[in-house]
């Protein structure tokens, strides 16, 4: 326990140092903070535009859809804040910065994340939370203690889920240094997928993303349970309640890929 506390302490000190470094560039920080809201706001607006064309999409109304958007955005922006910078692992592997990380007595993942604390992304998380709260208040949910719990658990589970996707796909850089934008298909693609009712998609694409990779359990299934609607695709009601737990096996898989990746790390040059 003391060991763990000491290591956490080390990471905290790294984070604080990072915050101090960022504050030495104050103006650019303020600009970043504002411009970061843009992306999330645009995602939410897209949903409004779509519902301007048709009042029911995939069997869901705007108010119901916005709950999914809220959960998906909360999960994604939280994950992006915490571990989104892992995308930069490509840079760290290519420049050999990874060497310096591996000779310190701390876990490499925590160090890499602490190396670039994206405080500027905080503004997006706040916006996502506002969207979720407003959507929940207007969706006509029959509130019970269990639903309150689910409304809190779903975005957290989503955050863990997306975080795992970020780490898992970024680990590819250990095998292919120039892995490019491959990971984005699953991270940003997954976020867009989860923002809409699964019923919108069909065929193998739906099977793969929704159930194979588990994206249906991030926002879609919990929203059904919150609204008290049966699943038009036939999954039982408890699937919605258990959905936040899906993040655990995904996180486990990501941890495994990461660990294997570290052992495959081939430091470049001298």
């Amino acid at each position: 326990m003391g060991e763990l506390r000491a290591r956490l302490g080390g990471h905290l000190h790294l984070l604080r140092a990072q915050a101090r470094s960022q504050m030495s560039y104050r103006v650019s920080f303020a600009i970043d903070l504002v411009s970061n809201v843009g992306a999330t706001a645009l995602d939410v607006l897209t949903v409004f535009v779509l519902y301007g064309v048709s009042s029911v999409i995939g069997g869901f109304r705007l108010g119901e859809s916005l709950v999914m958007v809220g959960i998906a955005q909360c999960g994604f922006t939280l994950a992006d804040l915490a571990v989104g910078n892992i995308e930069r692992i490509r840079l760290y592997v290519r420049t050999g910065l990874m060497d310096a990380v591996l000779i310190r007595p701390l876990g490499p993942l925590g160090q890499l994340l602490a190396m670039d604390l994206p405080l500027r992304k905080l503004s997006r998380v706040l916006l996502a939370i506002v969207v979720l709260v407003v959507a929940l208040a207007h969706a006509g949910i029959d509130w019970t203690p269990a639903r309150v719990l689910l409304a809190i658990a779903a975005p957290i589970g989503g955050a863990v889920f997306f975080g795992a996707i970020f780490v898992g796909t970024a680990s590819v850089a250990f095998w292919w240094i120039e892995s490019g934008e491959l990971g984005n298909a699953f991270t940003y693609g997954g976020r867009d997928f989860t923002s809409y009712p699964v019923t919108v998609f069909d065929g193998w694409f739906r099977s793969l993303f929704a159930y194979g990779l588990g994206f249906a359990f991030v926002a879609y299934q919990p929203t059904l349970a919150l609204l008290g609607r049966p699943d038009p695709l036939g999954l039982p009601a408890w699937a919605g309640w258990a959905a936040p737990l899906v993040c655990l096996p995904v996180a486990f898989a990501a941890a495994l890929i990461w660990r294997t990746g570290i052992r495959h790390y081939r430091s470049t040059g001298s």
Binding site: S21, D99, I103, L106, Y265, R266, S267, S270
Partner: protein, 318 residues
Amino acid sequence: MTVIEARALSKAFTVSVKKGRFRRERRQTAAVDGVDLRIDRGETVGYIGPNGAGKSTTLKMMTGVLMPSGGEVTVCGLVPVKQRIRLALRIGVVFGQRSQLWWDLPLRESFALLRHIYRVPTADHAARLLRCRAMLELDEFLDTPVRQLSLGQRMRGELTAALLHGPEVLFLDEPTIGLDVVSKQAVRAFLTELGAAGDTTVMLTTHDLADIERLCRRLVIIDHGRVVHDGTLEALHARYNSRRRVVVDLDEPPPAPLTLTGATLDATELDGRRLTFGLTTGTAADVVVQVARSAAVRDISVLEPDIEDVIAKLYKNT
């Protein structure tokens, strides 16, 4: 007590080579190819070899950065990759081309941060920092952000950073690369003292052979991933038959060709007024005495065997 032990240590990389427009051939190259090494506590070992010989790769396997693809290695009794974090607390590493410091923070803050990361007791940390500050003359740039330091200043900072947790083993990968003469001397003097204290084991790679002559009793030379020499500098000279030379300047060329005992005439320059002898069994004094019998000696100088020549020979032979 053995601190570093490698047995048949190897690292192979897969490289793909372009063959034609689309075809690529995957090929295995051995960066390190069966290195056996035992280093005892307190030794200072120079690990040298031409570019691409596998020096850095060896060091990276010993520090837990790279997973060996064959053989075994233990450092302080630990298996580097497997027990990476425990090992990290007991070793110090300076990769000349990579920084361990925080770019945007003053040096002083980087050091404070390292104290927390390595969980060093405050008093120990302060004592070690004080010693480094004095020996490496850090005081004038302790409050400068690392990004504004000169290379020599940064390297002195890196060395300090690697030593603040009192490591048992110090790995230095080209610690003097790109440094000016003054910084080089500061770094060398510091390492000499560290080596003299005798409780830190130092393994350093370098291309600067003056580093080796100043710092290392033991020399391990590696080429194409294999150890081609492991021993003292003298043993290396003996093996390659490199000798001390005596250069004698004369007022006039000698009347008759000179044949000396205990030395051979290696070169004749300046119309016979400068003679270079290689010592075989004799001493420099023997040479001078013998030459002075037949010609007036104006000046003499004694040249130590040139380590660069020897090592160049060694690389070519392998």
